[in-house]
């Protein structure tokens, strides 16, 4: 488990003190995938660099498992960092080394294995990320997705317990992004590895993460299970980040909202109910007639969900009774 307590970091910018992090606290469960999202300048990059102390916070505490990293000396940190993997937006591979030698690099730094053991470990890692056939190439000969696979293999070399991803897919096209996200999900499952990632892309959070924290001006403004935060976003920043990815109900802010005279329901289906004809069933039982106005049907990390806005005309029951009726079917219903 990773625990971050009251992390604060200031920069001086043209003689003024600017808070990059302002009392940030997080708890990240071992084995989970934790996403930190925010706009550029929100402090994400500083926050992830404070987790392995590449940047020293002004105050606050970072613990990984039982290790209080903020109390460590530089030497102890260097030791501990060998088991904290990090993956970067621009890959940061050594241009002078081949793919295999890049993956071997952290093993050489640690100096715990002999040459034959290192070679065996490198083969293992290249197989894990699917790059066996490219091991003699140099980074300049690889595509972006392949470079990031090398970056991931390198980060895993010393069997870390935590993997930090710094905008790992932001320099990649959408298709490559999907394949890297799939790889990270596999690694998380296979190796029971805790992954902490920062991103400005809500799709990354939706596809990969279990939990999410939303960062704005150096503060955590919202935090929770991804499914809860995405379906019931509380903070304006979260809502606008969601709206940009075509998520959320920005559609209903439009002027045509006034022209709908019937009550409007917001229906949220998560998991099994999303696979059942719930709306049809309730309609038949209660004589409810529905006019679908907007909606999203998709999945969040393999959990199907749906969120619909519907204008309704109820004949047999009062609109106020609908939330309970839907709740019996496992669907959350709000009357807007």
């Amino acid at each position: 488990m990773i625990q971050v307590r009251d992390l604060t970091k200031h920069y001086s910018h043209h003689g003024r003190r600017v808070a990059a992090l302002d009392l940030v606290s997080l708890r990240i469960d071992a084995g989970s995938i934790f996403g930190i999202i925010g706009r550029s300048g929100a402090g994400k990059s500083t926050l992830i660099r404070c987790l392995n102390l590449l940047e020293r916070p002004d105050s606050g505490e970072v613990r990984i498992g039982d290790d209080a990293l903020t109390a460590y000396s530089e030497r102890q940190l260097q030791q501990r960092r060998q088991r904290i993997g990090m993956v970067f937006q621009h890959f940061n591979l050594l241009r002078s080394r081949t793919v295999a030698a890049n993956v071997r690099f952290p093993l050489e730094l640690a100096g715990e294995l002999d040459a034959a053991q290192m070679d065996a470990r490198v083969d293992e890692l290249l197989a894990l990320v699917g790059l066996q056939d490219h091991q003699h190439k140099r980074p300049a000969q690889l595509s972006g997705g392949q470079k990031q696979r090398v970056g991931i293999a390198r980060a895993l070399a010393n069997r870390p317990d935590v993997l930090l991803c710094d905008e790992a897919t932001s320099a990649l096209d959408p298709e490559t992004t999907d394949s890297i996200l799939t790889l990270l999900a596999d690694i998380n499952r296979q190796l029971r590895l805790t992954i902490v990632l920062i991103t400005h892309d809500m799709r990354v959070i939706r596809q990969l993460c279990d939990e999410v924290a939303v960062l704005d001006h150096g503060r955590v403004v919202e935090q929770g299970r991804v499914i809860d935060v995405l379906l019931q976003p509380q903070h304006a920043v979260t809502q606008s980040l969601l709206a940009e990815t075509g998520f959320g109900q920005g559609a209903l802010q439009g002027q045509w909202r006034e022209r709908i005279s019937t009550p409007v329901l917001k229906l949220t289906f998560v998991g099994e109910p999303a696979l059942q004809p719930v709306l049809d069933k309730v309609g038949r039982e209660t004589g409810l007639r529905v006019n679908l106005l907007a909606g999203t049907l998709s999945e969040i990390k393999a959990t199907p969900f749906g969120q619909l806005l519907a204008g309704v005309v109820a004949s047999d029951v009062a609109v106020s009774a609908l939330p309970d009726i839907f709740a019996r079917e496992g669907v959350r219903c709000e009357v807007l």
């Binding site: 392995n52 590449l54 940190l77 260097q78 030791q79 501990r80 960092r81 060998q82 904290i84 990090m86 970067f88 621009h90 940061n92 591979l93 050594l94 241009r95 002078s96 080394r97 690099f105 952290p106 050489e108 730094l109 640690a110 140099r138 980074p139 300049a140 000969q141 390198r154 010393n158 930090l164």
Partner: protein, 225 residues
């Protein structure tokens, strides 16, 4: 020089030219080796102690940087003369090939060190950050990241320094340093034997061309793409 009599080339003392060429090559080789041996650590030191760098020591950097600038701003001809006492102390003579090597090295080390510093600054910050994130210690960063990643640039810096040293060796003729420059001054300038001047200049030109193309070829061979 339109009425230059090419037959004069026959009268040139070729064995002496050969000996002078050998002297120049000796001075160049020894001083280049010493310059790289001293200048590379100096360049690394300048790089890591600069403000905002891996082991920022602003005071030390300011002092080193000042010394480098002082040595670089002295014209080499003056350095040759100023250094005579030091040369006597170190090699026992201030003339000849041995006497020329000390001022050559003192003149070239700050030049090369500054080039190395600039080459190292071109190494991607992200790669250095990545190696820090993997727990690399400073010596590991220097030997496994900085120097290998900067290798093409470093070879370029050695080439530029070698060419500059050819020029310096020619100047060391002024203090009787030996070599082609010495020959050109003694015969070409003081005894008006233009043909000797022409031959030495041609040889220096060929030497510089050879150095430059060898350097370029090496850089091309170890580029990383």
């Amino acid at each position: 020089m339109t009425d230059f009599d090419w037959n004069l080339l026959l009268s040139v003392d070729w064995p002496e030219i050969g000996a002078a060429t050998l002297d120049t090559l000796t001075m160049l080789g020894v001083s280049l080796l010493a310059t790289v041996a001293l200048g590379l650590p100096l360049g690394v030191l300048l790089y890591v102690t600069a403000p905002g760098q891996l082991r920022a020591r602003p005071r030390l950097y300011a002092v080193l940087s000042f010394l480098v600038n002082v040595l670089r701003s002295l014209p080499f001809v003056i350095l040759l003369i100023v250094l005579i006492p030091l040369t006597l102390l170190l090699v026992g003579t201030s003339i000849g090939v041995a006497g020329a090597i000390v001022p050559l090295v003192v003149g070239a080390v700050p030049f090369f060190g500054r080039l190395v510093e600039n080459v190292l600054r071109e190494v991607d910050r992200g790669v250095i950050e990545a190696s820090q994130a993997m727990g690399a210690r400073l010596p590991q960063i220097v030997f496994k990241v900085l120097l290998p990643e900067a290798l093409p640039g470093l070879i370029g810096a050695v080439t530029v320094t070698a060419v500059a040293l050819v020029g310096y060796t020619a100047m060391s003729g002024v203090i009787g340093g030996g070599g082609l420059g010495d020959l050109a001054v003694r015969y070409g300038y003081q005894r008006f034997q233009t043909e000797v001047m022409v031959v030495t200049v041609a040889l220096l030109l060929v030497l510089v061309q050879l150095l430059q193309s060898a350097g370029d070829r090496l850089v091309r061979r170890c580029r990383f793409d």
